[in-house]
């Protein structure tokens, strides 16, 4: 699908031609692991006739505790894998990779690149009436300051309160979705945001929708919780509605494919929990 691959100092660039529709054309989605499957599920629901390919980098998960340089390298390799498999657009379904690497990927690759941050930011601004917005995410996401920057670029008077929640990903991956310790840890993480009286809370990590039922009562029912997985799926749906050629290329009879760079029992069980059905995960080395 790439007609030109140029290893210039600016990095490889893939250029798309208006080539004939192929049964390989797909929506490409990647994440550091299985959390991004909440995005894939939302895309499956929003666009049931479109084909998607997913890549979860389980061999190197998690990204959230790694350095910006390493995260950018990994995101580039993930994107290259999906493009080589036939992706015509990319969704970065990992807040960490989105916050650190999305600008760089947009410079390097000539395909539409969506990510989970911008749609959630737009929704948060539209939702908040007090302008007091909370964000929870991994340490890398929070340290990047990307949510604050994007929110304040559009709503300069907004006050953004960010809280890194590094233990939530391991808790979700353990399946401790209803354990007392998980509730206590959530209460500890959410306490500062509650004190700041945020009226909107962005779930800035694709694992967190699995904890939404625990988060909502602990942040308070008057606080609106924004799920970035759903927002990015809606955003993609709107985009395709205005890009009929690409839209029709992505509609065909192939099946959705889920790739991972490592295959573990835990991953299979989280995938099943997210989709509500057993998932066939294909192992690849990238």
């Amino acid at each position: 699908m790439a007609d030109k691959k140029n290893d210039a100092s600016s990095g490889r660039r893939y250029r798309l031609l208006a080539n004939p529709t192929s049964d390989n054309d797909m929506i490409g989605i990647f994440d550091s692991g299985v959390g991004g499957m909440t995005v894939a599920k939302a895309v499956e629901q929003a666009l049931p006739d479109h084909r998607l390919i997913y890549f979860g980098d389980l061999a190197r998960t998690p990204y959230g505790s790694k350095s910006p340089e390493t995260i950018t390298d990994y995101a580039r390799q993930d994107t290259e894998f999906l493009l080589a498999k036939g992706a015509r657009l990319i969704i970065i379904a990992c807040n960490t990779a989105a916050s650190i690497a999305s600008e760089q990927l947009r410079r390097e690759f000539d395909v539409p690149i969506f990510e989970v941050i911008t749609p959630a930011v737009d929704k948060a601004i539209a939702t908040s009436s007090s302008g007091r917005i909370g964000v929870i995410g991994t340490r890398a996401t929070v340290n990047s300051g990307v949510y604050e920057e994007k929110i304040r670029a559009q709503a300069s008077e907004a006050k953004v309160f960010s809280q890194p929640c590094p233990l939530l990903v391991p808790l979700v991956e353990e399946g401790w979705l209803d354990k007392r310790e998980t509730k206590m840890i959530l209460r500890r993480y959410l306490a500062p945001l509650k004190r700041h009286q945020v009226d909107t809370l962005v779930l800035g990590c694709t694992h967190y929708p699995l904890l939404k039922e625990l988060i909502q009562p602990r942040i308070g029912k008057r606080t609106k919780v924004i799920d970035s997985s759903r927002e990015v799926a809606d955003c993609l749906k709107n985009y395709l509605a205005t890009h009929p050629e690409l839209d029709s290329q992505l509609r065909h009879g192939g099946s959705n494919r889920y790739y991972v760079s490592d295959l573990t029992e835990a991953a299979g069980s989280i995938a099943r929990r997210i989709f509500g059905r057993p998932m066939e995960l294909h192992k690849v080395t990238i």
Copy 2:
């Protein structure tokens, strides 16, 4: 230092000659991240005149939740890196890699390969009077069954009770060494072992010595806690006492070097906590 490198189907083999002493000759230690620094510290204390080189695979940490195949690949690459830098023997300072990959590495590399499991097993058998021995570790270590197998090979009447504790590594890496949630999670993990009345508990993960002060009161003061970091350092010291040529090769004026495949603030701070001094970590790509 390797005079022959043979990419036969059995894997690469490094053969050591009795070549002249070099200032590069070192004790090589690797771990998936920073936990293995508890081993490096114990080796520094046991063998202060010997030089060591450490590699922490922070770019791909943790290993404990990954598949045996991926863990073996990573362990092989870590070993190759250390040998290329001048290691004359290897300590696998990661229980996960030791449990999954040590036999394979011994087949592939012609250098002495130590690991954290065997010395801890020997000590546990020597210590236990009831023969009821507990083991805590990552999910991969516990699933491998290696502790049970090794203990029962030497003490067939022993009863081994193993408990995976997958949240302890993230808790240590967060520095939550004295938080209420950490204590609750530890109590939950240790409860079955307490019920089984183990009289000896092996810390089967190199992160866990950092939690020893919390573990001892929760498992009970009559249970002896075995720290594999200290045991492997003693084992190496005994080995070198009977191998004077290698021993003298490793004693020279060079300085100990600490390499990591990713550099993060959190890693620096855990390293400082383990060694009680600021540590210079060198980033390498392997």
